[in-house]
Symmetry: C2
Subunit: 339 residues, 2 copies
DNA sequence: CTGTTAGCGCATTCAC
DNA sequence: GTGAATGCGCTAACAG
């Protein structure tokens, strides 16, 4: 069943069918109605492949994430998909699983399917593999790391803001031994978070003990490992800030095994504000970086780039704030650590 | 840059380029090499839309889930995607968000993009909306609820097995007041789980107190609400089994607010074995239903259906087992409840 | 305002 | 074993 079939039955030309379906206003309402009637009756749906071929528009955006199973991403996928539905786009979702080969493959798949734009939400990993897309002038949107080039937009995240709030919160609770568990430091965004922490600590006139800065990997297991190292120190920190929520959850899990009660003996702060953060025990105090907003910004960035008519200018810069949200995993520093 | 461009530069016809790229063995190795050289040099990738148009094969499978943000699904998406990558397919992922309108829209999107098959992993919701797909003879795979029709496969889950194990485990720990928090009972799979629980309890010669069976909705909030109701009962249950892990997590979260220690005062058992289950505090004893296996079965079902040459037979039935996995959220029933 | 026609990029006949 | 020609389903240009 194709457009010709509809044309025949509605006794019009295929061109008219096409116009009616695409709601071109110049078509006679009478004819349009006739066409739509047949379309409904037969349950006809235009073939997107054919459309794409002739129009050059596939109405597909690529979405590259580092790992769907990381609780940070499902919300993003959901919001991105909501936007896609609203704007009549489809999503080509790929997960790099931290594997450069897989990233390369993602790019290949995107190109083969002729996506009109790609959101690269991997937080600074292997951007070099995107050369091929840039070469083809496919609009791109990055988080943090995009270079200022035509068709390349960027979402700059203000990590400093939320992290400073967190540090000041801990200081107000009279914590003096502050630890930080980083993400993988080859990740741009992880490095920036660490630096924001150090800067914020310096700002309140304290210095950060290098022993208290441990490299993690943004996983729960990493958080557990890191906590073990911190726990084995002669003088344990009284508060631990983590580069993401998963790490914080790992820390809490391990502290539970050590019999260290949170927040009485140890305060823990996360980062991201994954939805889950409010449901764990105790509910996690964390820095919010809205996944919904991020996804929407990314989508809008691509859409704008696609719809723009002067394609020579550089992509737009967007910014996203972060903010501390207080829950139950932080408390006054335990007694023996007060002066 | 298209196939003609390659043909010109390799000094062959477009037909030969096509054959070379598709690795048709009859093409002269010399020519093939020449073609590939040009292809590499120019970074040529065939246009999938055009291919799909002429071959009638889009190499896209649809995947309908009820909610990507439910931790149960990301693992499924990941595994499904892994399979897709291996087999050179793309995925059209849609999330119904428990909204029939959205489900309808999903179906429409699938048809427009001409997917070759659809995995419907919504556990028994609004299957009627799939008429349109069935009508077009698109291979379908369901969980639990698929009717025995051509092109329609099914993954039957043995809920009873794992749930019986869980009930027997609780009985062995001398629990006598067993509660069950169901999922939304309009979901086929939720109803079956509840019945499996009741059957298992009957099997050990106990009867299930209707007061102890509460309808939840498979969310954390639902678990919290349900727990409140159970906690307000004159005689509280000593063990609660939940229709899914999210519910169990909600229960634990609320019990924490009540100051009821788990597992000392209350045993909790989940269902699904979401990855997160092992990281919460305490680690959740739950019934495993492998998300990875489920996704792989679903993908294989579709692939088999697509590749099969006698399309008249009914779809295949697959089965998936469930098994109890013991962790730390269950313990001996508290004293006062012993005989 | 409507119909005829060309062509999007590719795979696949069919002659050679 | 290769190339020229046809058509997949649709939109856009053009003529009427």
């Amino acid at each position: 069943m194709d457009i010709r079939e509809i044309a025949k039955r509605a006794k019009v030309s295929t061109a008219t069918v096409s116009r009616a379906i695409n709601r071109i206003p110049t078509v006679d309402p009478q004819l349009a109605k006739r066409v739509w009637k047949v379309v409904e009756e037969l349950g006809y749906y235009p073939n997107t492949q054919a459309r794409a071929l002739v129009s050059g528009k596939t109405r597909i955006f690529g979405l590259i994430v580092s790992e769907i199973t990381n609780p940070f991403f499902p919300e993003i996928v959901q919001s991105f998909e909501d936007m896609a539905v609203q704007n009549n786009y489809e999503i080509l979702l790929t997960s790099t699983v931290h594997d450069p080969k897989r990233m390369e493959l993602s790019v290949r798949r995107m190109i083969e399917r002729r996506v009109e734009g790609v959101a690269v939400l991997t937080f600074g990993m292997e951007e070099s593999l995107l050369e091929d897309l840039r070469f083809r002038k496919v609009p791109l949107v990055f988080v943090d790391v995009g270079p200022p080039l035509p068709h390349v937009s960027n979402i700059r995240i203000n990590y400093q803001r939320g992290i400073r709030q967190a540090v000041q919160h801990l200081a107000a609770l009279r914590h003096e031994r502050l630890a930080f568990i980083t993400g993988p430091l080859n990740l741009k965004s992880a490095k920036v978070r660490k630096e924001a922490f150090e800067e914020s600590v310096r700002e309140i006139g304290t210095r950060v003990d290098p022993e208290y800065v441990i490299e993690g990997d943004h996983t729960m297991e990493g958080g557990m490992m890191a906590f073990k190292r911190l726990a084995s120190l002669p003088s344990r920190p009284t508060a631990i800030m983590c580069s993401n929520d998963l790490t914080a959850i790992g820390v809490m899990r391990e502290a539970y095994d050590y019999g260290i009660p949170i927040p009485q003996e140890l305060s823990v702060v996360g980062f991201d504000d994954v939805r889950l953060a409010q449901f764990i025990i105790p509910p996690l105090t964390t820095v919010q970086m809205s996944q919904t907003e991020l996804a929407k910004l990314a989508f809008r960035a691509l859409l704008q780039e696609v719809e723009r008519d002067v394609p020579t200018t550089n992509g737009t810069e967007y910014t996203l704030n972060t903010d501390l949200v207080l829950r139950k995993s932080t408390a006054l520093a335990p007694r023996q650590s007060h002066r």
